[in-house]
């Protein structure tokens, strides 16, 4: 079955079994192995990618359903020598150990910061209509769909906070 996938701005024609998940299409057909498989059942978040701006578990989505959707994977976020602030913060704060959950964490955090910027509340947000602030508890809650057995959680929280602060500072400086 033929599908056209738009990944990190490039289009790919994929001819794959209709049962192929987006995750397996990335890993087995397109050689984009930055997106990881940890459970294949939507339970770990290792396969998180960004689809039209929202974070999704790519193992829970069939590739053939993603025609016309703009997909961003970890490969589209920055590369060694040219890392994004969030990726750089993960390195400085040791927001990983084995690194296997890390692309998922970073894709997830990227979209999560966007959700916060848009004022989406979470279960730990005190004021559902006001602005959500990026407290440790907010970050931990919003990142709890991404398991890390190495348990870099405290460092992941620090890295996300650091990157968010820097981006805010840059924005202020630009204004």
């Amino acid at each position: 079955m033929r599908t056209t996938l738009t990944i990190n701005g490039a289009t790919h024609d994929v001819d794959a079994d209709p049962r192929t998940t987006l995750l397996d299409a990335l890993r087995n057909h397109l050689g984009l192995t930055g997106t990881k498989k940890g459970c294949d059942h939507g339970q770990c978040g290792a396969c998180t990618v960004i689809a039209d701006g929202r974070r999704i578990n790519s193992c829970l989505t069939l590739a053939c359903m993603m025609d016309g959707v703009e997909i961003t994977t970890i490969e589209g976020l920055g590369e060694p020598g040219d890392l994004l602030p969030l990726q750089d913060a993960f390195v400085r704060h040791d927001g990983y150990q084995c690194g296997y959950c890390t692309p998922g964490q970073i894709c997830s955090a990227t979209a999560m910061l966007d959700e916060v910027a848009q004022g989406w509340p979470s279960v730990v947000t005190d004021d559902l209509t006001g602005d959500a602030s990026l407290t440790d508890a907010e970050i931990a809650e919003r990142m709890s769909g991404n398991l890390c057995r190495c348990a870099a959680y405290p460092n992941i929280v620090d890295a996300i906070k650091d990157a968010a602060d820097r981006t805010a500072d840059q924005r202020e400086a630009a204004e």
Binding site: A16, D17, R19, T20, D24, R27, N28, L32, T33, G34, T35, K36, K37, G38, C39, D40, H41, Q43, C44, A46, T73, I74, E75, L77, G78, E79, P80, G81, L83, Q87, D88, V91, R92, D94, Y96, Q97, C98, G99, Y100, C101, T102, P103, I106, D136, A137, I139, A140, E141, M143, S144, G145, L147, C148, R149, C150, A151, A152, Y153, P154, V157
Partner: protein, 729 residues
């Protein structure tokens, strides 16, 4: 040139402290970081050769003997290439450092979920559907029971000194309790995977493995090939925690399938298969007896452990490993009892032994503190022995007192012993708890090659692995420090059996053992440089690519005109028996327990640890964070459940086996006692730290629950139902 050292004597030279580069022990970022955060680090299933086939295991639905395997439907599917039922398929993974094949043969089924065939197809989707279509008929056969019944008590695992019964009788305060811990799963985020490719009679296997020099022999033995014809690549491992110590079913099956089909074959376990067909930590039952005088000084200790494993597995969870030496007490009984069961193989899960042994023991110590009316920190302080009380040998170093004091101060430990249940915030009950951390320290044989180039770059090579532990970072730092190079001038190549055999990652030996091999190799390079400059090695200073001696500073390129290479070789020796070596620490936790639901939230957690010279303050801290978080899971949620009828793992996925998520873990703080140097361990005076953080961590939480509520949970994990039941009493 080879520099070989056997640790027969203490090494008090502290050579690393003489070095000038100033990168060792710092919180240097991992050199592998940029690759990992950008998704460019290739794990086992990610370098897929052209034309690779996909293999998916057929699982045994029950125990017994396979009578027939109906694969007609599978073979009829378009794209299915073969169904492998070879006799060489593994029953279960090899145990760590086994160095030979584990039990083989797919016809005798010893546990539900055992892989009994591999379906190989052109796509993963076809292979999966075809594997599910295979009909399996299994007949009854004589098997061990599915739950532990009869226990053996092997002679050499029992010990006793003095008269514990008398000590219990004469004691002012005693504790005599039974505790249980359930089976655990390592649950690394990367499921076990392998890609096998043959070139004539040479096999290359990309695997997710922790100890390559052993894995090579295990895989070769399993396949019946010469290890020389086998190369294993494992440059990045997505977590192991013991579950990837030995070669496992996927590697052997991939190799056989690749041979049969003449094409490369990749096999990645499903998450369910990771739970049921790799390794579990045995459940334990533990009886702890403590006898103490009125001041809480221990006079007697009893620690019996009941564990289980499959038939024909020599491994059994060494629960009481640290009991002989952690605390004083002249009367001591240690018992070890093993039942044979038809369950997933029991093997190493992070800190086999102490992870559950110290945890239970530290709960018992908390019970003693309460019974004696003594602050739990003070109780431990009073019971630190001067020498190993069992073997009557000195400690290489004992940092427990320092860790307790520093940890209590950093955490803000309340030593006023508030009555359990006395602190409330609305419906939440608040309490603090603490526990000691102890883990035996070992050294393993390791080799590494270091090459220094005239352009001031260096290459470090060993088959050592980095499973998230930070091997790339610390080996870079050791070489950079010894050779006086900025770390970015050092390249570290790991995870390839063509390179000199390191220690592998397991039992917390990796950093100190492989690190010592790199240290020694650098020593060799330094000697060559010193020779070239006509000075003694100890008079040579290397810094920023300059060789400095006799008030001369010379660029390396002027000292050597070609690459200088040396091999370092470390071996354990007499110091492993002459002194008791261990790592030490202390945990402190504050929990809030909901009086309505019984839910426990860990609000604060702190650990102070001592592990000799710390090689990288950042990665060492992360290892401790990881261990303590395993402790949170062990205390509150993690429990592998086996069906009472057929022994199968009921909760074999991440939605039902609950490892801690981000919101379960507070901003844990870690303090490393950076000053310690342990001369008996190795030439770097460093010790392992990868497992220390889990050895007792759960006890701090369980003890805090008691302080918060008065409920003493003795059957881990302390789930809501158990806390609620206690609250109702």
């Amino acid at each position: 040139m080879t520099i070989h050292t056997r640790m027969d004597d203490a090494d008090r030279r502290n050579r690393l402290d003489d070095m000038a580069q100033g990168v060792l022990s710092t919180a240097m970022d991992r050199p592998d970081g940029p690759l990992k955060v950008s998704g460019r680090a290739p794990y086992a299933h990610e370098v897929q050769p052209e034309g690779m086939l996909h293999g998916v295991f057929v699982r045994a639905p029950r125990i017994g003997r396979v009578v027939s395997l109906d694969d007609a439907a599978a073979r009829a599917m378009d794209g299915v290439e073969t169904v492998v039922t070879d006799d060489r398929l593994l029953r279960n993974p090899a145990q760590g450092t086994a160095n030979e094949a584990p039990v083989q043969g797919p016809r005798e089924v010893f546990y539900v979920g055992q892989p009994i065939a591999l379906v190989v197809a052109r796509t993963f989707e076809t292979a999966r559907a075809a594997a599910l279509s295979v009909g399996v008929e299994i007949a009854d056969a004589e098997r061990a029971p599915v739950a532990p019944q009869d226990y053996d008590s092997p002679d050499k695992k029992q010990s006793s000194q003095g008269d514990l019964d008398a000590a219990m009788r004469d004691a002012a305060v005693t504790v005599d309790r039974m505790y249980t811990t359930p089976a655990h799963s390592s649950a690394p985020m990367e499921p076990h995977a392998a890609i096998a490719e043959w070139d004539g009679d040479r096999l290359t296997l990309r695997g997710s493995l922790q100890m390559l020099k052993f894995n090579r022999n295990e895989l070769a033995d399993s396949l019946g090939i010469d290890p020389k014809n086998l190369r294993i690549l494992s440059p990045y491992v997505g977590g192991g925690f013991g579950s990837k110590l030995g070669v496992a079913p996927e590697a052997v099956a991939a190799a056989i399938a690749a041979q049969e089909t003449g094409r490369p074959v990749g096999v990645a376990l499903s998450r369910q298969q990771v739970f049921e067909a790799t390794m579990r930590r045995s459940e334990t039952r533990q009886r702890v007896r403590l006898a103490a005088d009125a001041e809480g000084r221990l006079t007697g200790i009893g620690h019996d452990a009941w564990v289980s494993n499959l038939p024909d597995e020599s491994y059994s969870e060494p629960v009481t490993q640290a009991t002989p030496f952690t605390y004083r007490g002249e009367n001591r009984v240690i018992g070890h009892h093993v039942a044979r069961v038809s369950r997933t193989c029991a093997g190493s899960v992070r800190a086999p032994g102490e992870a559950v042994g110290i945890t239970v023991f530290e709960i018992a110590m908390d019970e003693l503190a309460h019974a004696a009316g003594i602050d739990p920190v003070e109780l431990r302080r009073r019971n630190i022995p001067d020498r190993d009380p069992t073997k009557d040998i000195p400690f290489s170093s004992n940092m427990l007192a320092q860790a307790l004091d520093a940890g209590a101060a950093a955490f803000g430990w309340d030593d006023s012993r508030p009555a359990p249940g006395s602190r409330r915030e609305g419906e939440w009950m608040i309490g603090q708890g603490m526990a000691s951390a102890v883990r035996v320290n070992n050294l393993a044989e390791a080799k590494a090659r270091v090459t220094l180039n005239p352009d001031g770059t260096a290459l470090v090579e060993t088959d050592m692995t980095d499973i998230g532990t930070g091997s790339y970072a610390i080996l870079t730092q050791i070489a950079a420090e010894m050779l006086g190079l900025p770390p970015e001038r050092v390249e570290v190549r790991l995870g390839d059996t063509d390179l000199p055999p390191g220690s592998g990652s397991g039992g917390s030996v990796g950093a100190s053992s492989s690190g010592s091999a790199v240290f020694l190799a650098c020593q060799g390079v330094r000697e060559r440089l010193a020779e070239a400059m006509g000075v003694a090695e100890t008079d040579l200073t290397l810094k920023d690519g300059q060789a400095i001696a006799d008030n001369r500073s010379t660029p390396l390129g002027d000292v050597i005109d070609g690459p200088v290479e040396a091999l370092g070789h470390i071996e354990p020796g007499k110091t492993s028996k002459a002194v008791r070596q261990a790592t030490w620490g202390a945990y402190f936790a504050e929990v809030a327990v909901n009086s309505v639901t019984g839910e426990t939230r860990v609000r604060r957690m702190h650990g102070t640890f001592a592990a000799g010279r710390i090689l990288n303050a950042k990665t060492a801290r992360s290892q401790c964070l990881g261990g303590m978080t395993f402790g949170i899971g062990m205390a509150l949620t993690e429990e592998l459940m086996h069906d009472a009828r057929d022994g199968h793992v009921v909760n074999r996925d991440l939605a039902e086996y609950h490892i801690p998520v981000n919101a379960d873990v507070p901003q844990i703080t870690v303090e490393l006692l950076m000053e310690e140097r342990d001369p008996w361990t190795n030439p770097m005076q460093a010790k392992g730290i990868g497992e220390l953080g889990i050895c007792g961590a759960a006890a701090a939480i369980v003890n805090a629950i008691h302080q918060a509520t008065g409920v003493r949970v003795r059957d881990l994990p302390a789930t809501l139902d158990k806390v609620m039941a206690g609250l109702e009493d």
